[in-house]
């Protein structure tokens, strides 16, 4: 396996509001490598790697620890659990899947009525989320009530796998970003930086960019780089001109997305750095989707940020695919940007 730590990150359960296991794992990985680290009240993990003091500026690197998932909301008579979504989950990706329920990760399945007994007319109709159930092997309400609390988080259970130049897993959004930050930190261990770098692994991106602003307020950075995972859309049903990004074309650079036109200077610095270092890259060619950069722009006096992403097919589903070279390109570009520090010069 090429990306061992990424595999562990992706397999960790950590939906929005329940990111503790991801944060704890990252904490174990940064131990001894940073000058200071702390968890804040919402669960953001923040770490400081001090510079040599030549510059008073601060750079913030950011990735979100949460992934999309489900939450139980009702125990039914037959012992099954009803649920709602946390973050954007399409009900069409849920049927016929194994899921893990609660902090103890109890396995269950989201089944569906057998095709034999379904009405033909509705075979191709998407069922409403509240018509789906999690079955845990109980036959009575009491059995479920004894073992589960309402509001339990529900996680996808996909195992990480590498095939050729690709990796298949859940939660690449945004564990790829989490791993980019860890790689940058590793890379800085034998490097003298002129300025302070703050690493922020933030919570609750998927439910409205809720963790990043709080983290930034504690850090007060002069600029930020957001490392994300973004929709590929290079599917066979779309003509090439409609692809948002595609796998194998390198890191994705974003000039604008929902709710934000990104800082021109930082964007151009990122493009120049990729060009100068012969890192093949691509632009995100659609505006759809947003990142924590939109929150940073609305935090304090507006924190300028750049966004660099690893593209992923079938994002927000239990089975997404990335090209590992795209990811490595993002990590390489991230290290160069941090070491050169040009994104901080105004």
């Amino acid at each position: 396996m090429k990306l061992e730590r990424l595999s562990r990150l992706c397999e960790l359960p950590g939906i929005s509001g329940f990111e503790e296991k991801v944060a704890s794992f990252i904490e174990s990985q940064i131990e001894g490598k940073v000058d200071k680290s702390w968890k804040d009240s919402v669960g953001n993990l923040i770490a400081l790697k001090k510079g040599n003091g030549k510059s008073q500026k601060r750079l913030m690197l950011l990735a979100h620890t949460d992934e999309v998932g489900l939450m139980t909301k009702k125990v039914n008579e037959d012992g099954t659990l009803s649920f709602t979504n946390i973050g954007g989950v399409d009900p069409r990706v849920l049927m016929g899947k194994k899921v893990l329920v609660g902090d103890d990760l109890i396995p269950g399945v989201i089944g569906f009525e057998a095709i034999h007994t379904q009405e033909r007319a509705t075979l191709l109709t998407t069922p409403k989320m509240d018509k789906l159930r999690i079955y845990l092997g109980y036959s009575k309400r009491e059995e479920a009530q004894n073992n589960h609390r309402l509001g339990d988080p529900v996680f996808f259970s996909t195992k990480y796998e590498e095939v050729g130049d690709f990796a298949i897993a859940k939660a690449f959004d945004d564990r790829t970003g989490c791993e980019v930050l860890l790689r940058v930190l590793d890379d800085l261990q034998s490097f003298s930086l002129d300025y302070d770098v703050y690493f922020a692994w933030v919570v609750q991106e998927e439910v409205g960019l809720r963790g990043s602003g709080i983290a930034a307020t504690q850090i007060k950075p002069d600029a930020a780089l957001v490392f994300e995972n973004t929709t590929a859309g290079d599917n066979p049903e779309l003509p090439e001109y409609r692809w948002a990004t595609s796998l194998g074309k390198g890191p994705v650079l974003t000039f604008a997305h929902n709710g934000l036109v990104l800082d021109k200077k930082i964007f151009e610095t990122i493009v120049d750095t990729a060009r100068t270092n012969s890192i093949e890259f691509q632009y995100k060619s659609r505006i759809a989707g947003g990142t924590d950069a939109a929150r940073l722009a609305r935090t304090m006096s507006g924190i300028p940020a750049g966004v660099i992403s690893t593209p992923s097919r079938y994002i927000h589903s239990p089975v997404s695919i990335i090209n590992t070279n795209d990811f490595l390109g993002v990590a390489k570009l991230a290290s160069l940007l941090v070491k050169e520090g040009k994104v901080l010069s105004r």
């Binding site: 089944g111 095709i115 092997g137 796998e161 050729g164 049903e237 779309l238 695919i321």
Partner: protein, 335 residues
Amino acid sequence: MSVNQLLMDLSNSFGPVGYEDEVHGVIREAIEPYVDDIYTDVIGNLIAVKRGSNRRIGLFTHIDEVSLVISNIDDRGFARFEMLGGVDPKILISQRVKIRCRDGKERRGVIGMLAPHLQKQSSRGDVPSFDELFIDTSMNPDFEKIDIGDLVVVDFEAFEMNGKISGKSLDDRACAAISIEVAKEMAKYVNCPTLYFVFTTREEVGAMGAKAAAEELALELGVAMDVTHHSKEDNIELGKGPVLTVGGPNIHKEYFRKIEDYAKDHGHSFQYDYGPGHTGTDADVVQLAGSGTPTLLLSLPQMFMHTPVEVVQVSDVVNSARLLSGFFSFLEEVE
């Protein structure tokens, strides 16, 4: 091996319609200690024989699984497919699949769908039909080796859950486990008919496997076993034992009465199903084999049939095997 493990091994093995070889391996290993002979016939059934009296009884369980077959593949590695057996497109989206290729190698695929935020608002309520779904095989360095006609199954590792097993092909391999358990249980009895454990091919596309074997074996009694839907409405539930189909044209009335009486007299809990016409199982063709074969149908309650997360209860498997082995020995004693 525990029944739980046997069920999981059977479910995990790769056995699309007509390509059940890998399942044969699992069954051979499990049943070998308890039978006298094991062979495969021309059409591809695996048959294990336990010799006893002159009475010839056959147990039919199909071991093929509903599956997909590659029908087209483009130069980027996006493949289109057809289904073998009844598959609901709703349960295919975002599944990891295994593709068994002509060169004997297994390759990876993912059934994809356009991200919701890239879809037209109007189509978000629709499930893609088979014509719109695709298998992304582009991650394989040599996806061009994948060809039309290669077989595909959803990759789902079976697991235990409160006395139940969930897996991708417990229809009908959970019943194959019953057969294996019957072979094992027969050791407890002095009187034993000659039993043919027929693990049939191609049930999901028309049961020609069972037909061929039943023709060849000329049985006194054929017992087909298959899964049936868990349905509180129909009084068929997981955990309440085997389901016996009451007469109706497909079931031999006299043998049904015998097994019903035996079950009642010996304290076996069981449930009833009703077969007004053909039963949609191997029993349909077994009955018509040769100059006619008396046929019974034993069903195992199951949830979520034809999805990757089919569920059966282990105790139902064990109790089915106990009922059948006891009944076979009983037939020897009284007749």
